[in-house]
Symmetry: C2
Subunit: 410 residues, 2 copies
Amino acid sequence: MIVQKFGGTSVADPERIRAVAARVARAKRTAADVVVVVSAMGGATDELLALARSVTPEPRRRHPRELDMLLTTGERITMALLAMAIRDLGVEAISLTGSQAAIITDTTHTGARIEEIRATRVREELGRGSVVIVAGFQGVSRAREVTTLGRGGSDTTAVALAVALGAERCDIYTDVDGVFSADPRRVPGARLLPEIDYQEMIELATSGARVMHPRAVEIGARHGVPIRVLSSFRDDNQRGTLILRRRHDVEQLALTGVAAESGHVRLTMRGLPQSMASVSHLLTALAEARVNLDMLVIADRPEARRQVQVTVKDESLPDALPVCELLTKEMGGEAVVVQPGLSRVALVGSGMQDAPGVYARAFAALLSAGIEVHAVSSSSITIAFIVDTRNEDQTVRTLHETFALGGQGA
Amino acid sequence: MIVQKFGGTSVADPERIRAVAARVARAKRTAADVVVVVSAMGGATDELLALARSVTPEPRRRHPRELDMLLTTGERITMALLAMAIRDLGVEAISLTGSQAAIITDTTHTGARIEEIRATRVREELGRGSVVIVAGFQGVSRAREVTTLGRGGSDTTAVALAVALGAERCDIYTDVDGVFSADPRRVPGARLLPEIDYQEMIELATSGARVMHPRAVEIGARHGVPIRVLSSFRDDNQRGTLILRRRHDVEQLALTGVAAESGHVRLTMRGLPQSMASVSHLLTALAEARVNLDMLVIADRPEARRQVQVTVKDESLPDALPVCELLTKEMGGEAVVVQPGLSRVALVGSGMQDAPGVYARAFAALLSAGIEVHAVSSSSITIAFIVDTRNEDQTVRTLHETFALGGQGA
């Protein structure tokens, strides 16, 4: 059994829907069972959101339940049309809503989490020989309320269904050929990766590679279901990129890829007391304001006052700034300095721990390229650099070249 | 408690939806409980149908289940938007799908019948003080499949809900001021009827008055729930037309109104054997081909062969003609003559039985107006005339004037 997921650009119009139908019909002839997860037709969700905004100023905040009711129509339209197109090819197909497929979520409208998938109905329909098409992005709470999964929802539906059904693989069809060592539009030498480890994919996705949502990859990682990313615009012989648990050996390249994301801003708080409590207060307050931190830098200065810098995404600034200002004032600090126009560039690779000198080589290369690094952070498989957005492309290219991610030997 | 239903033109755009929200909020302040039934935004269902047709040639015939899945998104969009707009006015509101409102239907996709409404959830939400908005036109089968009710579906949902909830009244908001003695666009003297009997309304609706679907009126008649037809474009003080069980007294006008519908065709079969069996065969075969007859005329001719004429709607011709041709041939008759371009004009009034000479006055008036009547049929409350479509308007006006339906005394 395989699960195939088609995103918005893959089902953007009737012609594309028929092309997807043909692909699904071919898969059904070679695989035993096929489950298809669909997104709303490209642009449909934005149109529904615009419609909601033309009726009410802040639908997401004020009417989350009704917004979910509205937005879930997008996937229903796609799945019904796709079922018709597949049936026209002589292959039995049936579409199921999140509710009919028993994708049970918690009650958090516009950002629900899947709690359980009771795949009885899906299995029944598969048992009748049908291709089963499931609406992505949506579920139903135990009180039978319609919910949506928020960002990366359709990918999440697909991988979670693959787990629940014990599928052999989850194929994510997109508008790109797979996962690259860097964005091929920016780095001409970028290489299509034949495979990548779950954790590396999560890092790349978190760092701006838009090909798949990290949330879905995490589910795959937790349950060990292989995920393949490939293009709905290419023929069936393509390989795409396989995301799986990868075993490293000495011959393997240490580094996998580089990804970048603009739209970051740094807040600098000076003159704070040099105590753990001050930082702890700040982190607690930011968490309560639901601000995700990209990076935290603590610098102690000779005059025994502390400087704390946090980097957040632009959209978090309205939540983060008042918190930082209030706490800085309370702790007797100076004014908060806001520094916008920053990008976060992440160098990702599971083998990084075993590859000595990555840090040093990266800094040397960026220095000689004249790029100023404002901050840096690292995890076991990532080094992330904060740079000015105007230097983002060059940072990506420099790192890609320095570590020969295009494949010419590290 | 009242049930209010708003059709497609009443919720055609965000501005209209906000206007409906204001009306509902005012009703909530004066009535104890308000249940609202909505159609898809004007044109939305046609757009979804066009989308289906751009994917597959005959969605209704080939993929009825998936078409229902597709079309039911229309009402969901309206109800979510309306719930947002009502909540913005400080009145609690919640939207429920046909499934959530437990509108249980049979399994006939694209033309399901309501079997039962389990209004538990609706009552719960009313108990919390919410306005409950229910998607019209849709239901759910016992196997939890999404169904649609077919023609007149939203009106049917509204009246059936009013019955199930024991509502005081069902208000049907449309784009006209109520039910008129004739189409006011064609007959300048047409009169807004303050009230009308269920059966008269069913006859007018069946005869081309588009204001309400006869199916919904039948449910109201069976359970004695008063239905009011009024305009969503007028203020709250309008009276509209009340549809109810009317008691007739001698002072009352015998006739209520006149309605017309074009698009009829007559099939004449000559030279059939003069036996009941021939007509019976024909009627059975037509019923099996699902052809609804408007009118049946049997004329015996001197030469002992029978002539049978049936009048059907144009859309039934492809089903009816082969049946008529086959049977005519089997029974040794002549070729079937097809006569298109006909209209059916119906004069309706519960008091007709008690009003002598209606037939005679009608024929005399039509004769002096130079209108040829091809066929006539009558029931206890209707006389229907088949005329050429080019004479339809004049027939309506002549009958309206002859029987003083505008109110200047019969």
